[in-house]
Amino acid sequence: MSFLEYAPAPESRSILSLRDEYGLFIDGAFRPGTGGGFETISPADESRIATVAAGSDADVDAAVGAARAAYDKTWSRMSGRDRGKYLFRIARIVQERARELAVAESLDNGKPIKESRDVDVPLVAAWFFYYAGWADKLDYAGAGADPRPLGVAAQVIPWNFPLMMLAWKLAPALAAGNTVVLKPAETTPLSALIFAEILQQADLPPGVVNIITGAGATGAALVRHPDVDKVAFTGSTAVGREIARAVAGTDKRLTLELGGKAANIVFDDAPIDQAIEGIVNGIFFNQGHVCCAGSRLLVQESIHDELVDRLKSRLSTLRLGDPLDKNTDIGAINSREQLERIRELSRIGEEEGATRWSAECEIPASGFWFAPTIFTDVQASHRIAREEIFGPVLSVLTFRTPDEAVAKANNTPYGLSTGIWTEKGSRILAIADRLRAGVVWANTFNRFDPSSPFGGYKESGFGREGGRHGLLAYLKSGAQK
């Protein structure tokens, strides 16, 4: 055992009291689905966790019907103060059950427990706490005179931050007075189903939130349902396009939070120790399953060699393995399908001429794993510089001048996030102005907060989540139309 190896320190699963089988959460209660079922597994060892229902078209219809009834009879008529109190209750119960939620999330998703425990679940509670306070202050949100909810919101969320994405979607929608049908991702339904129990404990009126599990077909039926007033989706740009086409010509409001290929720009005067940590956090946080991941490292040419050496050295200290181990830095890839995509694009990276380096680490015998990987000698035309890999793979490119850095950073159809590392404040502000992306992290990366709007430019989607702007995505002015 070297000095960097620790004894195993796994978080106990005993805090979980999972059911063997989960139905759909419709109108305040679990009920069997009519579309069959499927297993959700732990990506760390491929073991079965539970069987969940695949929502059929009829189930989707029932869920939307429950949401509509709850909207008409209860939620839209309730005072903002009371809506807010329900959201505060939810925030508190999430805090009370935080450890259980973190274990469930790491088990089902594969992310390290230190991330689910210290990032995901605390942000879930914070998100509900933040929007709870908005519920009785909508007149001040800037949505125009007489702000009103939109109605029934259809929300489809991804597998990379299952519970956090649920909170990002639900909290503003409910604060604004909408009711919701939410579909978690196929591979990560578990935390949302536990969350349904939290809603029961909070005594949220039936139908205000309905959670239907399933695959793509369930989500497609949901966003196409004619009685839905609002569609909010986080996921791939390809699916985002399909949804944009599906809602064309309807009155449905749409927000999309899609893919990214963020440039993380490091100037030669950057605070190098912080930059190394920021680069690592930017692309290896959550196994790189992050839409805003800093997957394109743009390094000023003069410090390229030194920076890459130090990065490799730092990556060699990362511990890959059991997501429930408190010392784990890199967890499991979420699914076999995603692992195959990462492998495929990495293979293409080598074929196109980039130089591959992977950290030496022991890969567990079962489950889905990918060692932290850096590609150098990457050209802007390479697919690993253009396509979202959504894995622990960093593509390193170089630049000489600030203008070149900006041009390369913006040379992508995406525009979700970017990073800038330099000690020169005036340069940060000037570069930040010219980057076409919704979030700019300067001398930091991958920071999230419920008060801070998040979302993309260009093909990374439209609409914002977080902050006052996130609330506007679920409100309309009663003075209009």
């Binding site: 396009r241 979030v439 930091t444 709007p453 702007h469």
Partner: protein
Amino acid sequence: MSKRLTVPKTYKLFIGGAFPRSESGRTFEVVSPSGDFLANAAKGSRKDARDAVVAARGAFGGWSGATAYNRGQVLYRVAEVLEGRRAQFVDEIVAQQGVTAAAAGAQVDEAIDTWVWYAGWCDKYAQVTGNANPVAGPYFNISVPEPTGVVAIVAPQDSALLGLTRVLAPALVAGSTVVVIASEAFPLSAISLAEVLVTSDVPGGVVNVLTGSPAEIAPWLASHDDVNALDLTGAGALEWVDLQIAAAQTLKRIIAPESGADAAAPRLERITALTETKTVWHPKSRV
């Protein structure tokens, strides 16, 4: 004594600050409601639309990078110059739309006042729609609106000047650049407005005006990869759902068709619909 022979104007397109004929060589006849010949307007083509997008993209950096105060003065200047040419616009509207001089005058007045209203927003909308965000940590965090980019617009079809103004001005406030398809039946005021724009210090390429058939031109703009937003305000009579579907390929921001006298009425949301919110984080030290 014989009556003086007038000198009629040749109405061409407006692309990149210049007034070219359509590359297609085509024109179409613009007539009054009673059927009198008014002009042969240029019938814009697919290639004209693409040239216009190139011009708009080229102008985006300068216009979006100009100070808000500067953009506000330029838009106010549009109102000033329009006021000075009021009589010309009244005559053109009367000729095209067949309305009374009083109704045409009211339309021009309303258009001028709309330019003034939006001019004033240039250096204010960011204060109203931006935010300082109190994040839970030692970070400076601010959200500011920025222009979406190149905006393709189908102008209202039932109004020669006011409808065009109501879609054009809000797009310019934040710094987006525009390719607008003018009213098919009443295109002459759009080209005359372009003359106002060039004499108001609106940089070339910031506004590009295409005349011709919206049904023919709009699909090329809706599917153009370098267009960021599609304003379908005046597209109600077109196959606008197909345009929206085409626009989904690059996730263009969409403004849906509106109709009636209140179509695209001035409001802040016309500006914010064509802006993006950028959030910037920076750590604070422990000093």
